[in-house]
């Protein structure tokens, strides 16, 4: 099953592309460090979004060419960034006032696990090692819409969409949409509601790769993404 999935699954770029399509004109967006940062690359032409980074920049742009980095101008992942016209700098308290105060339209985060009640686990596997939370716990309770991008299953093929998270929680009841390598799933009323799935996978196979019941309300459309 896992091998079969690996053939049809979307790449991370394709998952990021799909998530980017839902970002509205004029939206203020925070992208979690790592994989979610990729979403910015797929912002649709002609739709302007303004990107926020926790460490005090609004309106940043692309990665600078190597050798042209200014290490006072970085994002939350500590990667060098550039500014777009109309950017602003501010301190960390003001930055999280934006987050916690509900001023961001969307936060897109990675996940270890997402539960059908909207709980998210993405900061600690709970297995020892060094705990490190960063801004994730603030983001999940701040943005107007919290979405997750993730492979649908773990590297071992186990479901990441579950009835309940087993790893330490990042936030309770906070996620409303999950973009996976196989599907787009909303969380509504304590349930996973399937919105889009790859044409190449049957509902039953998708359900088998999911740790909680997938509800259907209205149409399920094909999840279609370009080659990237």
């Amino acid at each position: 099953m896992s091998d079969a999935l690996n053939i049809i699954k979307l790449t991370n770029e394709q998952i990021a592309w799909r998530a980017a399509q839902d970002i509205q004109e004029g939206a203020y967006v925070n992208l979690g460090i790592g994989f979610p940062e990729m979403v910015a690359r797929f912002q649709p032409e002609g739709r302007e979004a303004i990107f926020h980074t926790e460490n005090g920049v609004l309106g940043f742009g692309e990665t600078p060419p190597e050798g042209e980095e200014d290490w006072d101008l970085i994002n939350a992942g500590k990667k060098a960034i550039t500014l777009k016209p109309g950017a602003a700098f501010f301190n960390h308290a003001d930055s999280f006032a934006m987050v916690r105060g509900g001023h961001l339209d969307v936060a897109i985060l990675g996940a270890y696990q997402v539960a059908e009640d909207g709980d998210l686990a993405n900061w600690s596997t709970g297995k020892g090692g060094i705990p490190a939370v960063g801004g994730a716990m603030d983001l999940v309770h701040g943005a107007k819409r919290v979405a997750v991008i993730t492979d649908h299953v773990t590297k071992k093929g186990e479901p990441k969409l579950l009835k309940r998270c087993t790893m330490p929680l990042t936030g309770v009841g906070c996620v409303t949409r999950v973009y996976t390598s196989l599907a787009v799933v909303d969380i509504e009323g304590g349930h996973f509601v399937l919105r889009e799935k790859l044409a190449a996978i049957s509902f039953d196979d998708l359900q088998a790769a999911t740790g909680a019941e997938l509800h259907i309300e209205g149409d399920v459309t094909d999840l279609v993404v370009p080659q990237l």
């Binding site: 203020y28 303004i50 609004l58 309106g59 016209p85 109309g86 501010f90 006032a97 934006m98 105060g101």
Partner: protein, 235 residues
Amino acid sequence: MNKTIASLREAVAPIGDGATVMIGGFGGSGAPIELIHALIDAGPKNLTVINNNAGNGRVGLAALIEQGMVEKLICSFPRSADPKVFTDLYLAGKIELEIVPQGTLAERIRAGGAGIPAFYTPTSYGTELADGKPVAEFDGRPYVQERWLKADFALIKAELGDTLGNLTYRMAARNFNPLMAMAAAETVAQVSGIVPPGGIDPEHVITPGIFVNGVVEVPDPKQEEILNREGAVYP
């Protein structure tokens, strides 16, 4: 993305009866006189207004109050050189007043903008302004619990604005304006000039555009203090 609003009339049009409106300024400095006058022209009723003061003379906030549009005022200091409009209505029992210590008012507004539903402050402990509020001790000292303040709208005055809503202010006219911008569902700033993105140095932005929904240009704004010295009355 362009947050420019073409006219003062359009800027205040969404403000309906019963709305809670934060109005920037400390006395006349930073008071968005032109937005307030546009609001008087629009005429919504039963407003709850949050401002540090209660107006002065017969323009701006005082005029808004005089028109009977304000049901409740939340402020720290409803006295001024000429507070007659407010005083008369208050003594006649026609306007509700909630007095909040100035620092607590500022912090409650910031808390509203920052997603902090409640906080503790030493201010007002043991006074009648703490009546009915929870008290807790931290490190052996008593503190009063205060709640956030939010609003449906904020009408503020800034100096420069860009089309993305980034703002600067002019001297002590900054005061409550940046805080109110954060704490309202819809914030409109009147600015002396609108510039394109990049027209304000990112280091010098005081209110980042994320807190601002619209900017309307008022190139030569009136100062309440000067209007009152001229004996102006609005409308």
